[in-house]
Each structure stands twice: as C-alpha cells, then as structure tokens.
C-alpha cells in the first residue's frame, strides 16, 4: 500500500511533466526538451517571491504563471522560427535543448547553484490511508494531478478550442484554411504545457527545495512517462507518469533503494520494444471495433 501511494505521489509529478510534453507535442508535433526546466522555473520563481516576503500562495501562482510565460516564449523564440524556415526539419530538437541549457545556467547565475528553501505549506501534516502514511502535500499532489488530467481531457473534448487543438494536430494547414490562427494556438499550447510543468514544480518544491538543476531529473522522468503513456492523448501521459512512479517505488523497495534512478530506463526500453505507441495502443483494437460497428452499412465511395 505504501509503495502504491508513494508511487502515485511521485508519479503524479512525472505525469504532470509528461502531460506538458504531450500538450505541446499534440498541437505542434514538437517535443519541447526544455519542459523539465520549465518545472525548475516554476520552483525557482515561486521560492524567490516567497523569500521576498510575498504570501506563499501568491508566490506559487506567480511561479506557475512564470513557467507558462517562459513556455510561450520558448515557442516564439526557439520553435516557430525554425519551423518557419523548414516545416519538416527537426531543428527544434537542438533549439529547445539550447533553451534548456540557457534556463538552467541562467537560473544558476541569478539564484546560485545550491538548493534554497521552498514554502512548506502542507508537508507537516500526515495522512493515514490503511497501513500507509503520506504527507498532506503528497495527497494534494495526487489529487491535483488527476484533476488536471481530467480537466484537460474534458476541455479537449468538449470545448471548441479543444476541438480546434485536435483539428490542428490532425491537419494544421486545413485548420488554417478554416480560420484557425495556428501560431496563437501553438503558443497557447506551449504556455499551457509550461503551466503544467510549473504546477508540478510547486507541488514537488516543498520536498526537493528550489534548485536550478531540478529540471534534468524531472524532465527525463517526464519524457519516460510520455513514452509509456504514448503521445496520442495527453491524459495517457498522466497514466504513464503514475505507472512509472509506482514501478520506481516498487524497484526501490524490491531491488535497491536507489533503483528508481535507473529503473525508468529499463521500463522505457521494454515499452518501446513491446508497445512502441504507448499504453493506449492496447485499446486500439477495441476502438477499431467500435468504429466498424458505427459505420453505415455498405459505406462506399
């Protein structure tokens, strides 16, 4: 029970970062390799504002907003120009990695390379669930992550803007020919992806403290969670994160206390070999059957 719940708590963080990767990819077909550093921006900015004496809750909101703003700027500065030059190039791979390095080293220059305190609002309270014990912070993290995944999925499926995102993901040129400002939507997607990373940052901050190199660890874990969940639906990335968290905690318990450092890589190799399109591909035969059942009889040209 303890492994399961602790795994869900850390997996929720991986899942939020993975959803950030997935949201940006969903609309633009670009992996933002600075996603982990956006988590770090959320943590560092929130911690800095809190240290200035600002109310910690306001500092946390500002941290999330800062991560969203940096996400939007990343699209406008590092992704859009390279796609404008060549729509089919993969130059964004290098440019977003460049942004990651700039953010990481920039944060180290501004705030120093060592860990600083982060407002510990909920870590002092314990919650008992059966035989397991979690901090209130961990319980809130699981709840917020699941609510964010469900909220995003409802938004994607039920609102015109969400459907527009699906249309842009499917055929960006046709979406443009229907009046969609694809640059605006892509910028918004990167901002939302940044907000998800920032949210993950302020949820993990009380445990890890603020550190400019946090982005490496959580960026890699989030990317692995994305590979597990698959890129076809952002909410599946959350499932990938939760699963990765549980497997990592189980590895810590059963193999070695440091096993969660290397175990994700074993998981991702197995996933890429067995289910290269992610967990959701398991449901593909079911979806095909439903589609066949819905198709009109004798549908031809």
């Amino acid at each position: 029970m303890q492994v399961l719940l602790s795994g869900l708590a850390i997996g929720a963080i991986y899942g939020l970062v993975a959803m950030g990767f997935a949201i940006a990819f969903y609309v633009t077909r670009v992996i933002n390799f600075a996603e982990g550093q956006l988590l770090m921006v959320g943590v560092m900015v929130a911690a800095w504002f809190a240290r200035t004496g600002l109310d910690p809750w306001i500092a946390i909101v500002l941290g999330i907003l800062a991560a969203a703003a940096v996400g939007a700027v990343t699209y406008l500065v590092a992704v859009r120009p390279v796609l404008a030059f060549d729509r089919f190039s993969f130059a964004w791979l290098v440019s977003t990695l460049g942004v990651a390095l700039i953010l990481e080293n920039g944060a180290a220059l501004v705030w120093g390379p060592t860990s600083r305190s982060f407002p510990a609002l909920l870590t002092g309270t314990s919650v008992h669930v059966g035989s397991a014990t979690l901090t209130l912070q961990e319980v809130v993290t699981i709840g917020v992550a699941i609510a964010a995944a469900i909220g995003f999925e409802l938004y994607r499926r039920r609102t015109l803007f969400g459907k527009l995102g699906m249309a842009i993901a499917h055929d960006p040129e046709m979406a443009t020919a229907l009046g969609a400002n694809t640059v605006l939507v892509a910028t918004a997607a990167f901002a939302l992806a940044g907000a998800f990373a920032g949210l993950a940052g302020v949820l993990i901050g009380p445990i890890t403290y603020s550190n400019p190199y946090l982005g490496d660890t959580y960026g890699i874990a989030g990317f692995v969670a994305l590979m597990i969940g698959g890129t076809s639906r952002p909410a599946a990335a959350m499932a990938g994160g939760l699963l990765l968290g549980i497997l990592g905690e189980a590895a810590n318990k059963l193999i070695d206390t440091q096993a969660s450092d290397w175990f994700p890589f074993v998981v991702v190799v197995v996933m890429l070999l067995v289910l290269p399109e992610g967990l959701l591909s398991l449901a593909a035969p079911f979806r095909r059957a439903v589609r066949r059942a819905r198709a009109p009889a004798g549908a031809t040209g």
């Binding site: 249309a167 499917h170 046709m174 009046g179 400002n181 198709a295 031809t300 040209g301």
Partner: protein
C-alpha cells in the same frame, strides 16, 4: 458596378523557387459559377491554394469582393472571404460530423444564432447528415464525406466558394448528389470557382470555363458555347 467576387490579375505563385502560376487573369462575378479545367500539373490546385493564402504569392492581384488579400494571413482570408473544399476532402476523421461542421464557423463562434442558422441550412442541403451528425467523419462513405466537406465550407458563410475536384473518387450516385447540391448553391446565387476533371460535369454546373495549361490561362469561354460534352475542348486541351 459591384466588384467581382474573385478577381485575379497577373497572378504569379508557386512553391520554393518554382513558379507554378504565370500571369493568370481570372474573374468570378457575384453569383457566377466558374469551372477551372486543365491537364494534371497545370496549376489548378495551386490557384485555389493561392487564393486561400496557402501558397507563396509572387506578384499580381488577388481580390475578393474588392478586398485585397495578397498580404492577408491565410486564417483571415478563411474568415468569411473564401472557403475551400480541398482535394481529398481533408476532414478531421476522428471528430464527429457536427464538430467538423462547427469548425467551419470558427470566426462566427460568438454569434450562436448565426451558427445555428448556418448549421440548419447545411442540414437542409444534405438531410442525410443530420441523422449521422454524431458519428466520426471517418466512418462515412466517400459521398457523405464530400457533403461534410461542402457543408464545412458553407459554415464559414464565405463570399467565394472554392472546390477542388469535388467528384474525385466518388461512386456515380454520390457524384450525382454532390453535383445536385452544387447546382442548388449556384441557383442560390453563390459565387463558385470549381476545379473539375470531368468536363461534362463542369459544363453542367458552371456558367463560364477557364482552361489552365502550363500555369497560364489557355482559354476562357462561356460554358454553353462549348457544347454539352465539350468534346472539342477535350480534344484541344485535355486529350
């Protein structure tokens, strides 16, 4: 005198460094249906894409109802000036039919009454779509998908309708249904520019015909002057 629904003068456009269209002059009067014919590679699709702002414009004028759209971004042209039914339809196949239609009215989203009115007019034109409106677009037959593509175009309430090979890949019955719908739109006084490989269909649906060859206008003629089957036209330009 009112401005043409579509007015192209001296249009040059193409991809990369290659000019596909060379000094094309073409007009569509308000309420007129114009057919664009030509062999493969003549530049017919490129012309429609240039009007929509999807192809690099080099020189010349593109004007829709008197509005110069040369420097206008594609997504703004699509907001009530021109709408396109592309070759192959390019529906959002995983999304329900009604969502595909509503995405056509993106710029009208704040005017819910107008959107409902347009949706009703599409269902009046293609009653079969009303019954299947919650199905994914990809689950429809080719003919029904073409109806959705035409409906999606109409949802933006555009000044000029652009259709790229609406009969392509359809069964004969479906072609008949689509042609009938286009004739109804023509009777309603819509301004239409349609690229069509089937000459008989183009002559039936259109008031005037342009033939494009090698990126240039090779012929402009009233449809009725070309006979019912357009045999002479086919022999001269399309054989």
């Amino acid at each position: 005198m009112s401005a043409n629904a579509l007015d192209l003068r001296g249009l040059r456009a193409g991809y990369g460094r290659y000019d596909v269209l060379r000094d094309v002059d073409l007009q569509v009067a308000p309420g007129e249906a114009v057919g664009l014919l030509g062999p493969n590679g003549a530049g017919k699709t490129t012309l429609l894409r240039a009007v929509m702002g999807l192809v690099k414009h080099r020189t010349g004028v593109i004007s829709i109802a008197g509005t110069d759209v040369v420097r206008m971004p594609a997504h703004k042209i699509a907001r009530g000036l021109a709408a396109l039914v592309p070759e192959g339809r390019r529906l959002f196949v995983d999304q329900p039919i009604e969502d595909n239609l509503l995405l056509g009215a993106l710029h009208l989203r704040r005017d819910k009454a107008r959107v409902s009115e347009l949706l009703e007019s599409v269902y009046a034109l293609f009653p079969v779509l009303r019954d299947v409106r919650n199905r994914p677009a990809g689950a429809l037959s080719g003919g029904q998908q073409q109806m959705v593509a035409i409906g999606r175009m109409l949802m933006s309430d555009p000044t000029v309708l652009l259709l790229d090979e609406p009969s392509l890949g359809l069964a004969p019955i479906a072609i008949g249904e689509v042609a009938e719908a286009l004739e109804r739109l023509r009777e309603e006084g819509r301004s239409i520019l349609v690229v069509e490989q089937r000459v008989d269909l183009a002559l039936r649906m259109c008031d005037r015909i342009y033939v494009l060859a090698g990126g240039e206008v090779a012929l402009e003629e009233q449809a009725r002057a070309l006979g019912e089957d357009g045999r002479a036209l086919i022999d001269a330009y399309l054989g």
